[in-house]
Symmetry: C2
Subunit: 127 residues, 2 copies
Amino acid sequence: MKLSEFELDVMQIFWEKGTSSSPEVFKCIHEEKDVAYSTVKTIIDRLESKGAIVRKRIEGRAIYYAPMVEKSAITQELLPSFLKRFFNGKPSNLIAHLMKDEKLSQDDITYLETFLAKQKKKNKDEL
Amino acid sequence: MKLSEFELDVMQIFWEKGTSSSPEVFKCIHEEKDVAYSTVKTIIDRLESKGAIVRKRIEGRAIYYAPMVEKSAITQELLPSFLKRFFNGKPSNLIAHLMKDEKLSQDDITYLETFLAKQKKKNKDEL
DNA sequence: TTAGTTACTCTACATTTGTAGTAATTGACT
DNA sequence: AGTCAATTACTACAAATGTAGAGTAACTAA
C-alpha cells in the first residue's frame, strides 16, 4: 500500500491513538502544522478509499475510523528500499551510521550489546 | 532538497558512478526498469533545475553531469523523519529491529561489537 | 423550534511526479 | 556536402498530492 507523506503523518496518529474521529486527528495535526480541517479530512477520505482505515462507529455526527494496515507492514515495505538507497542495502551499514551519528544512551548500548550477543549465539547454533 | 522516488533512483547512479551522461544513466536505469530514454532525460533535467546535478563537460553531443548534492546530505535529511515515523525517533529501536529482522553475518556482528565498544568508551569519557 | 455549532460531503485547483512523443541539432562517416 | 544516428530540447498529459472553500446535514442548547 503506497501512502504519501501526509497520509503517513495521519496514519501515525491512528497508530498512536487508535480509533479516532476526523476532528480528533485534526486537532493533533493542527498542533504541528497549520492546515485546514478540510485538508485533513480529505486525507482521511483518501486513506479510507485506499483501505488504510475503516469506519468503525458513529458518535453524534462524528465518524470514528480505525487503522486497518499495521505500522509494521508499512515499515516492512519502506525499510528495504530505504536501506538499499542509502546504505547499499546493508543493515550493518545503517546500524553503524546510527551508532556513530545519533546519541545512544548507556542503556541503549547495554540493550544492544545484549542483542548482539544473542544474535552471535544464534548464528553459531545455526551452523 | 526534496527529491522524488525516481529522482532518487537517478541520483543513486550519479553517486555510484560519478559524472555521467544521460545515455549512460539511461542504460543503467533501463536494466532495472522498462522506461523510455526521454523519461530518464526528463528526470535528469529536473535534477539539474533543482541543482542536484550540474553540467560538467560536453563530449560529442553528450552532456556530462556531475552530482552536486552528496548522498550523505540526503540521507541526513531523510533518516530523521524515517526514524520518527517508524521507530518513535529512537535510533536504538531501529537498530534493534534491524538486528532482529535482517540477517547479520558473523563479520557484521564483530564489526558492530567493536563499534559499540568504541561508543561506550566515548560515552564514558564524556562524563 | 430555532439559532448556533460541528462535522460531513463535494468540488476544485495548483503543483509535483511519472511517463513519453516529436522536433531540432549536431557529430560522424562516406 | 549529404545522410544517418545519437542526443538534446521542448511539449504534453494523466495521476497523485497538498490544499481548502462552500454547501449541507445534524446535534445541542436555549
